[in-house]
Symmetry: C2
Subunit: 298 residues, 2 copies
């Protein structure tokens, strides 16, 4: 029997994966620090409240659920701060503890959430099999360090594991300072949109759920096959909203330390995990715009 | 004022460094899991009992001492088991917590203890500045992962840090299953000595103490400048003990996963830290033999 625990389950990525896992007929447990969060009552999902940074809480959680599968999506993700947040070190420590507890309680498969920021800056699309890893941010380094520890631990204990490197994402429930909602909200208010210059996006929940339930081992890029620079993304949003003239590229400087362009190879995701995107980009952007329109007090 | 805390202070390396720090006039605090250990009462050293793997103990220790300098020598080191001991993951987590607590309490300089096993296997002497890192054991990976996190954290917070990569060691107080005492005890009993084939050695405490009190940043190899294969080491021990015929090279298989030969470049240690070995190898081996002779019930 498959019992899946999802950490960071109220986050942008965890929330989506949770629903896909429930749809797949798996017994799903979600954990969040919050006592309440909107949309928590997905069918087939049992919720738990725990702060994985506090001593003893992971022990109680794992002891109670004894999951066979773990999707570890929790990490510090405060917008604009997480790149060099000292809390990245706390999450590295907490993730190591969670890994040990999970394995000791009979856990069989651990899926960690990594980042495109683990790769060295490069023009070629990042390939899990041979692109050099050289993270520059504390976020990228801490994620990379945990992946090294996870892979070595799995190698010596027989634990099954995978490591999903997320490229930049777009979808409903994003934090409102993120790119797409930021652009969408400006457009909905009829305001000009100041933009920095380059990123790539993808809706990842379904890919994570599929990867967790697959036997694929090691690092897997989670990205759209086609690179989408922010310029194109913001312009498409402007066009979909009927106000392309409001999108002003280059009006906002790039954030220091933030990687500019990272494109991904998705051979492993497509061929080994067997995942193909369900949504076209325009459709995703239109959905996001609709979602934010529904949230906006007008 | 310099207040130095040494973790793993009853271990082979920590114990030596502790005495050198006390001799240097620094206020020294040693921490050990044990309630008692032989030779703990070094002059100028205050002892603390704490288990850094238990929640809350590092908090209490750092809060009480508020050290300006930290030599973190504690790790899992059970002979023959530590290479792939799952506890390596616990020590990675505990080291991250210690780092955060130290920095938050105003700590200024963190010296971590790494290992030659972080380097990729290679014939050339390992160089901190350009030799590739590719640990194969869980021990090497966990140490490497912590070094990455330490360096990135230091880079974003302004903490001063160094990382001492220890090559194989010889000296008094070694665990009795280790190479030199093993050979020495066999020789003292007049028994034949089964040996595997290659390693390198050095007495490291004084180098660690000097590195902690220096401003040198980053990874530094702690090794003798000249590579000493185990064959030569064991043979010299046999000769010093007057029983060279008892040393039988090749009679014991090499331990699986254990790196065979790692030689080091010591330019950084010599030129930047300004450290030169005080003892010649023969002198060290004779001292070790004398020390073990004194310990042996004859």
């Amino acid at each position: 029997v498959t019992t899946a625990l999802v950490t960071g389950a109220t986050g942008f990525v965890g929330r989506q994966a949770l629903c896909r896992l429930a749809e797949a007929g798996v017994e799903v447990h979600g954990v969040t620090r919050r006592s309440s969060a909107p949309g928590l009552h997905a069918p087939g999902v049992e919720w738990h409240q725990a702060d994985l940074l506090q001593p003893g809480q992971a022990e109680r959680l794992i002891g109670r659920i004894r999951p066979s599968h773990l999707l570890h999506a929790a990490w510090c993700v405060e917008h604009g701060r997480f790149w060099n947040d000292p809390a990245n070190i706390d999450w590295l420590a907490a993730s190591c503890r969670l890994l040990r507890l999970f394995a000791e309680a009979g856990g069989r498969r651990f899926l960690g959430v990594g980042t495109c920021a683990e790769y060295a800056p490069q023009d070629a699309p990042c390939d899990e099999r041979d692109s050099p890893l050289a993270p520059v941010s504390l976020y990228g380094v801490a994620k990379h360090a945990f992946h090294l520890a996870l892979a070595a631990f799995a190698g010596t204990t027989g634990l099954s594991h995978a490591w999903a490197r997320l490229f930049f994402l777009v979808g409903p429930h994003e934090k409102s300072q993120r790119l797409v909602p930021d652009v969408a909200l400006h457009l909905l208010r009829g305001e000009a949109v100041p933009c920095s210059s380059g990123r790539q996006v993808r809706d990842a929940g379904a890919a994570l759920a599929r990867l967790l339930l697959s036997p694929v081992e090691g690092a897997v890029n989670i990205a759209r096959g086609n690179a989408v620079p922010i310029s194109m993304l913001a312009c498409r949003l402007g066009e979909i909203a009927g106000q392309p003239q409001l999108v002003r590229l280059g009006a906002r400087p790039n954030r220091p330390g933030e990687p500019l362009v990272q494109a991904a190879r998705v051979d492993r995701l497509r061929d080994e995990v067997g995942f193909a995107p369900r949504y076209e980009l325009d459709e995703m952007l239109a959905d996001a715009l609709d979602w934010w329109r529904a949230q906006s007090p007008e």
